[in-house]
Amino acid sequence: MPDTQGDLVQGTLNMLILKIVALEPIHGYGIAVRIEQMSQGVFKVNAGSLFVALQRLHRAGFIKSEWKASENNRRAKYYVLTEHGRKKLGSETREWGKQVAAIARILEA
């Protein structure tokens, strides 16, 4: 079980959360599970880092939240991407793609 904080490139957790929230409104645990599933178990997020990140994104106005009933009838806080967040995700994704491509070019040289 890799330490997610250490393995995630600085700042990428925010981007991943934004991406997942962009797919559909989702609660905290859902985000953690999605990150684990979609990375096929490479990234695991603990509650502390997840909620700190959620709070930051919330403060920055990238996501908003509301309390709703979950699929198995639990009250859970669902996060939704804002317009502002959508733009941020777009720009972050483009930037990330550029960086990855650049790194790949260097490593393949």
Partner: protein, 893 residues
């Protein structure tokens, strides 16, 4: 990043902490529940699932902490926590807290009060529009005592006109002068502070009327004046707040004047600390303007882009023409040439002018320094107390460190206590300063001068208090905080652990504080002794004449319709009436009252020697009245009439200067011509002992006296010195009554000669009083500090002392153990203090009288005083050390 949202959300979590907490709790609970559910779905038992989730996710609490610590509000929150905790701790030790706040409050209050005064007299700008543009035009280097010089008078009115007509540096110029005049007639006469101004004065300054209208250029006209403007305070006090529109009519200097307006409350004129009462426009006297009365101060607003230097250059270039056109008549060639070579220059004037001299400012700054040092001493004591507190709380601190408190947090915790104390001290200090600064003004006030300053708290005073409080906080709280947070965990946790010998590192800071305290107190004590002794020298100085029981009367009779030829006769008549009053032993007229700061001198020639001598015209009984002994020759008699040959009595300094080794009797002196004072040859008929002339501080100058009957410039006034066995108040009341009944139109003012001399020493008195007070306070603070630290050291070393005694040390050796500690600290502190005091005293040398700034007696005295105080302070702890019972002390091990 949306800053507003961030702040809003932060504020929400600050002020709706519970709700935000609950929400986070709920969210985390849901999170965990979901995780557990998932594990169970995957086949784990509920127990296992919960355990696994906990392990994986960490505890909910840690997660909460992490979330809470991520926002900026958490910093504010821990700060509040620290402050709350500090407040609780302080409440638990009320005595310490009260002593600390009182000490700081007094210290900060005293500093602020003096700063307020400095601010009012020195730092504030005039309450007019754009004061920073104002500049004054003066003769560079002054007028060398030419002609008549009024207070704040730099130039003559003809000069003002020339400057006004020719200058290009100023967008507008105005002139003003001050003098005391009289309102009313006869027994209703009262004097007022007059402000004479050019017609555009108020417009140029941008002062708007509070009532009615202010003066305008059209009000300048031929004398006498017909319109005037009252200051707000005078209008309130003397004019009953009447509406100027309905006509306020006064008699000013015997002529009717209508008060047409009132200036706003904040405008006091141009002299800081001395508000004007009535402002009147300049008028053109029928006889024309005199070229030798330096009465006006000329100021203006610099044009945009003009600096003082550029204006000075411009004025300097104009100077030859301006001075050429205004040469005062009737001077000898040398004086006229000197006048023509004067140069004008521009000086900053945004603060207005002040009656305080440069040395008065030095005194005030010095006082601020003194109070600053006293505050530092108080801080040192507080630092000591906090250090001791830190020692007693070592276990608490160690426990908190063991539980994971970071050193940074502990330091913050300790600092919060300091911040709270300093803040409380600052608040108390401001409250005290408001009272103290007014008390300080009373100290400065004299019989006929109560300084009026605007002592309101402005931003400068408040920021001063703020920075002083911050500084004190740093001085007294930082070192203990750093020290206390560095507890040795294992040592401190061992219950009752106490080093058997003095731990040098622990006490070193306290020792340093003691050395500093001793040094500062020696400096302050030495300064105090210097000022007290200097003041004593002045007060006990023998001026060569009587001071006690002399009443000085000023009699003015310009309102009686006597012709000029009748003045001298009327003066004699008045003198005879004064002499006839019961209780008056002798009385005499004089043109100059000694020691009142004024001066009158003539250029003279004695044989081939040229120089200047003071000149006073007195009636025959003057020397007897003032108890000035005659060395040789004679004084004046009633035979020295206006028509008889001119005779003079000179003092010993005159003889040394002009007639060394020659018998002065029968020699002649020649005065150089001046307007109203024709060149005159006097024969010296007597020599008197030296007396002080215009002030106690000044060395006796060459002085000459001539008979009052031969005074060439008799005005409608005279000064009468009166010797009486009755108290001066009685004499004044009797004279006022008997003379007043007979001559209702004579202006009368009385002074007690001795009081007037003492009033001239007001700054010296204030310095002696305050520096003496603060010096003693400093010694006391240092003694308290030494007492505190030694008591503490003795307690900490009780075991060691007990062991020493058990091993056979006797009481004397224990006593010397404690005294040795002090002696070294004292020696170092006193040495540093003396060096510092010697260095700083040089700067105050000009304020001292009759002793040098490095006066050895003073420095020895200050050191001795402090050593005695320190030894007294260390006697009690030493005695306690002597009484240590070895058995009791050892049982603690």
């Amino acid at each position: 990043m949306l800053l507003p949202r961030n702040i809003a959300s932060g504020l929400q979590s600050l002020f709706r902490r519970k709700q935000v907490d609950r929400e986070l709790d709920d969210e985390l609970a849901t999170y965990l529940a979901m995780a557990v559910e998932e594990k169970i779905n995957q086949g784990a038992s509920p127990e296992e699932a919960r355990r696994a989730v906990r392990l994986e996710q960490g505890t909910v609490e840690v997660a909460k902490e992490e979330v809470a610590a991520a926002g900026w509000e958490s910093f504010v929150e821990t700060l509040c926590q620290d402050l709350r905790y500090a407040a609780r701790t302080l409440r638990k030790t009320p005595v310490f807290t009260i002593v600390a706040i009182l000490t700081l409050g007094l210290g900060i209050g005293a500093n602020t009060a003096i700063f307020q005064l400095l601010d009012a007299v020195r730092l504030r700008s005039l309450p007019v529009q754009n004061p920073q543009q104002l500049a004054a035009v003066r003769i560079a280097g002054g007028n060398q005592g030419m002609g008549f010089n009024q207070d704040y008078g730099d130039l003559t009115r003809p000069l003002w006109q020339e400057i006004h007509d020719h200058q290009r540096a100023f967008s507008g110029m105005f002139a003003w002068s001050v003098s005391q005049r009289y309102t009313g007639r006869g027994s209703q006469m009262r004097h007022f502070n007059g402000l004479w101004v050019s017609g555009n004065f108020f417009q140029e300054l941008g002062v708007r009327p509070f009532r009615g209208r202010l003066l305008a250029p059209k009000d300048e006209g031929p004398c006498p004046n017909s319109y005037g403007v009252a200051s707000y305070s005078y209008w309130l006090r003397e004019l009953g707040s009447r509406d100027p529109e309905r006509g306020i009519n006064l008699i000013v200097d015997n002529d009717p004047v209508q008060i047409v307006g009132v200036t706003p409350p904040e405008f006091f004129g141009m002299v800081v600390g001395d508000s004007f009462d009535i402002a009147l426009p300049y008028c053109q006297p029928q006889a024309g303007l005199r070229r030798d009365i330096f009465e006006v101060s000329v100021m203006g607003r610099l044009k945009p882009g003009w600096t003082l230097d550029r204006a000075s250059a411009e004025l300097s270039a104009l100077s030859p023409g301006i001075f050429e056109a205004t040469v005062p008549p009737g001077r000898d060639t040398a004086t006229t040439e000197m006048y023509k070579h004067f140069r004008l220059a521009a000086y900053p004037a945004w603060r207005g002018v002040s009656q305080l001299s440069a040395s008065d400012y030095t005194s005030l700054w010095l006082l601020l320094g003194i109070t600053g040092l006293v505050l530092m001493l108080a801080c040192a004591n507080l630092a000591n107390l906090l250090l001791v507190r830190g020692r007693t709380r070592e276990r608490e601190i160690a426990v908190r460190q063991a539980l994971g408190a970071a050193r940074f947090r502990l330091i913050r915790q300790f600092l919060s206590e300091g911040v709270l104390l300093a803040a409380a001290g600052a608040v108390l200090g401001i409250a005290l300063a408001v009272v103290l600064s007014r008390g300080l003004l009373l100290l400065f006030s004299t019989e006929n001068n109560l300084p009026q300053f605007d002592l309101s708290l402005d931003w400068r005073v408040l920021s001063f208090v703020g920075s002083v409080a911050m500084l004190t906080c740093i001085v007294f709280a930082v070192a203990p905080a750093l020290r206390s947070s560095r507890a040795h965990l294992s040592d401190a946790l061992k219950s009752g652990s106490r080093g058997t010998t003095a731990d040098h590192e622990t006490f070193s800071l306290q020792r340093l504080i003691i050395v500093m305290q001793v040094a500062i107190s020696v400096t302050l004590l030495a300064g105090a002794l210097l000022f007290v002794r200097s003041f004593r020298n002045l007060v006990t100085l023998n001026p060569g004449m009587r001071e006690r029981g002399i009443t000085v009367a000023f009699l003015g009779y310009w309102q009686s319709n006597l012709p000029r030829e009748g003045w001298a006769g009327f003066q004699r008549e008045l003198l005879e009436e004064v002499q006839a009053v019961p209780g008056v032993q002798s009385a005499a007229t004089t043109t100059r009252v000694p020691l009142d700061g004024g001066s009158w001198e003539h250029d003279i020639r004695v044989g081939s020697v040229e120089g200047t001598s003071k000149f006073t015209w007195v009636s025959p009984d003057y020397f007897a009245t003032m108890s000035i002994p005659i060395v040789t020759g004679r004084g004046f008699t009633s035979d020295d009439k206006a028509s008889s040959p001119r005779v003079a009595v000179v003092n010993q300094t005159f003889v040394h200067r002009f007639l060394p080794g020659i018998d002065p009797i029968g020699q002649t002196l020649l005065t150089i011509v001046e307007p109203d004072y024709p060149a005159t040859r006097y024969q010296i008929v007597g020599v008197i002992f030296d007396t002080r002339y215009s002030s106690l501080r000044e060395e006796t100058p060459p002085m000459a006296f001539a008979p009052a009957t031969q005074f060439p410039a008799q005005g409608p006034w005279s000064n009468v010195v009166i010797d009486s066995s009755l108290p001066p108040e009685t004499v004044m009341a009797t004279l006022k009554h008997s003379l007043g009944a007979k001559h209702p139109d004579v202006v009368m003012e009385f002074h007690d000669f001795q009081k007037q001399i003492l009033d001239g020493l007001v700054m010296e008195r204030v310095m002696a009083t305050l520096s003496g007070f603060f010096g003693l306070l400093a010694a006391m603070l240092a003694a308290i500090g030494i007492y505190g630290v030694l008591s503490y050291i003795v307690v900490m070393r009780r075991n060691e002392i007990g062991i020493r005694m058990a091993l056979g040390a006797n009481r004397i050796s224990v006593l010397s153990l404690v005294f040795r500690q002090t002696a070294l600290l004292l020696a170092v502190g006193v040495a540093i203090g003396v060096v510092v005091a010697l260095a700083t005293a040089q700067g105050a040398a000009s304020l001292l009288f009759g002793l040098r700034a490095n006066d050895p007696v003073t420095f020895l005295g200050a050191s001795a005083l402090l050593i005695v105080a320190a030894l007294l302070a260390c006697y009690l702890p030493a005695r306690r050390a002597m009484q240590v019972n070895p058995m009791v002390a050892l049982r603690y091990e």
